[in-house]
């Protein structure tokens, strides 16, 4: 937040703090650019592809590129939009006081909202890194895609339209969305922002009494930030989908594809989980501190603040497992059915499922324990010096 004399409400620094968005867009651009670049370079040599078998392989490669690009790109795009909305809402809530003062002083919504366009910067930085990353991976990727030498040897070329579509367009698009969404969010009386009513609006419902206070607290924490439930579910969805898919991809496609999907899965899962948990802890810091001051143990605080998300996490994981199975089954039947040497049948891999489930349980519960024990170290005095 800048000084009142400054029109820019959100600083460039805030934009870069949204590294979650950067990681997301970096992944998306890496994958999409690599496959699209390959797609474009491949279509350029279409005339040189001869022979029925090579032709089928060529078509499959094109199809493969389109599928991977739209599945991962679309998935990541949707997530980035949701994440951006979440960040903006979060930012406006946690800076309600300052924004309220600006509004009270007579700053117009649009003047304040314009500042949010710097979120486009975090998108841009992610895109540009992803773009460069994809080019550094491309030579190896091209080589592996054509391991059997069925297609003419091609090397990566630069395509200007692709650069515009994967780097410039997203940055501009997200800057616009950020301004638009913040305009909607800012449209409320400044007293609400000042008093923090905006933060609690629609979230404070009287619900039935639970059997103990910890359960009451747990359900109120869940209700107060519903997007976070989605994030945590999405995080484990990514973990479940991508890790299991990567194992299948190593057999179906190449090691490289498998490893790439594995890395994207891990990056997505941990980034979203980190963002969600940090937000949960941050927005509940005062409450946790107050509970600790009154004599609730760190374990009880953890149970009331974090444990409510467990069902969402496990459901996300299960949905992800089913989703990747269906997706791969469809892909195998459409893309690979015409090529020999690849099994046209695809079955659910139970051993892999159980291994991934086990590691999921260990990682998820481990992270929760780490965050829980962090609650023991919250300086209790902090709350009084704000």
């Amino acid at each position: 937040m800048r000084s009142v004399g400054d029109i820019m409400v959100v600083g460039l620094k805030d934009g870069f703090k949204m590294f979650g968005i950067s990681i997301m867009t970096c992944c998306a651009v890496t994958v999409c650019n690599m496959f699209m670049n390959y797609y474009l370079d491949l279509t350029a040599v279409e005339n040189l592809v001869t022979g029925e078998y090579a032709r089928a392989f060529y078509d499959a490669q094109l199809m493969n590129s389109k599928v991977v690009c739209s599945v991962s790109g679309g998935c990541l795009l949707a997530t980035t939009v949701i994440m951006l909305f979440f960040y903006i809402g979060h930012y406006i809530n946690s800076h309600g006081m300052e924004i309220g003062i600006l509004k009270a002083l007579g700053y117009s919504d649009i003047k304040i909202a314009k500042g949010f366009s710097v979120f486009g910067a975090s998108v841009f930085s992610g895109c540009i890194v992803g773009y460069l990353l994809s080019f550094s991976l491309m030579p190896k990727f091209y080589e592996l895609q054509n391991e059997e030498g069925l297609l003419p040897d091609i090397s990566p070329n630069f395509h200007l339209p692709l650069f515009l579509w994967t780097v410039i367009a997203p940055a501009g698009f997200f800057a616009l969305i950020a301004v638009g969404h913040s305009l909607i969010k800012l449209k409320q009386p400044c007293v609400n922002l000042l008093k923090g009513i905006a933060r609690t609006k629609g979230k404070n419902r009287n619900v039935k009494d639970k059997k103990n206070f910890i359960s009451d607290m747990r359900s109120s924490v869940l209700r107060s930030r519903k997007t976070l439930v989605f994030f945590i579910a999405f995080s484990s969805f990514c973990f479940g989908t991508m890790i299991q898919m990567s194992s299948s991809m190593r057999e179906l496609s190449s090691d490289m594809m498998g490893i790439m999907i594995f890395i994207i899965g891990i990056a997505l899962a941990f980034t979203t989980l980190y963002i969600a948990l940090t937000a949960v802890i941050k927005s509940n810091l005062k409450n946790i501190t107050m509970m600790r001051i009154f004599g609730y143990s760190a374990g009880e605080c953890k149970r009331s603040v974090l444990d409510g998300y467990r069902p969402a996490a496990y459901i996300g994981f299960l949905i992800g497992s089913v989703y990747q199975y269906i997706l791969l089954k469809i892909m195998v039947e459409i893309v690979f059915s015409e090529i020999e040497g690849i099994p046209a049948e695809f079955n659910f891999d139970f051993p892999v499922f159980f291994i991934v489930l086990l590691s999921f349980i260990i990682i998820y519960e481990g992270i929760m324990l780490i965050y829980g024990s962090g609650m023991r170290k919250i300086p209790l005095k902090q709350i009084m010096s704000e």
Binding site: K195, G196, I197, R199, T200, K203, N204, N206, D209, N212, F213, I214, D216, M217, S220, V221, R223, S224, K286, N287, M290, M291, R292, I293, F294, G295, Y296, S297, A298, R376, L380, K381, I383, M384, E386
Partner: protein
């Protein structure tokens, strides 16, 4: 009975090292109402936080009926707070997403106290039990925090400027509630305030300056919240 001996507390390090508490000793009896007075920055809050186990001292002893606070580990301190203390702050610090009832339940649950609704009645909020903090006035929020503190049946109640954010009329009313409940239940009460006049409601008055106790005396002429100037 609380016995505090030679308490010291430092903030910062090196050239910035600052002695916030400088050899503070005091005895507080069960059922006492102690008021701590002093200028801003004199170390009142620091003293309160240290003797209540929210912060650790750098030297000295804090003894609660033979239990030594300075020797306890984090878990024992939590257990100690759970069984003995409650707090009321200037800024209320209610849980914003919970209604009045649940906010008070937060304190009550620590004492397994199912009969906590009477405290909400006692602070005159029986008709606002389903309201959320953002729907209450400052004075009402502070009353909720009083009910929350008392619902856990504390042996010692710590208050840091409980009326600091309130106007005179509301402040008096709050003070009156606190004093009434103190009389009824007989817990020990230690209150920090800027307001000289509030001290006249206590039976023990401590004055602090630059981290030291400069004056300490019993008050023979205890007044009610409505008899003092403000």
């Amino acid at each position: 009975m609380i016995t505090v001996k030679n308490l010291t507390k430092y903030y910062g390090t090196g050239d910035n090292k600052f002695k916030a508490l400088d050899g503070v000793s005091v005895n507080i009896n069960e059922g006492d109402f102690v008021v701590i007075l002093g200028a801003s920055g004199s170390g009142k809050s620091t003293f309160l936080n240290v003797i209540s186990g929210l912060e650790r001292p750098d030297g000295g002893n804090i003894d609660y009926d033979g239990k030594k606070l300075e020797n306890m580990n984090e878990r024992e301190l939590t257990e100690f707070r759970k069984n003995n203390t409650a707090f009321i702050f200037q800024q209320y610090y209610l849980l914003p997403h919970l209604n009045v009832d649940k906010n008070v339940k937060m304190g009550a649950a620590l004492d397994k106290n199912k009969d906590y609704k009477k405290y909400i009645e006692a602070v005159g909020l029986g008709d606002k039990i389903k309201k959320f903090p953002s729907e209450l006035s400052g004075g009402e929020q502070q009353r909720v925090s009083i009910a929350r503190a008392l619902a856990k049946n504390p042996k010692v109640l710590f208050l840091d400027e409980p009326t600091g954010a309130l106007d005179e009329k509301t402040g008096r009313q709050i003070l009156d509630y606190i004093i009434k409940l103190h009389k009824e239940q007989g817990f020990t009460m230690i209150m920090v305030t800027h307001n000289q006049n509030i001290a006249e409601t206590a039976n023990k008055i401590i004055k602090m300056n630059s981290g030291k106790i400069t004056e300490m005396h019993e008050n023979k002429n205890i007044k009610s919240a409505y008899e003092i100037g403000w």
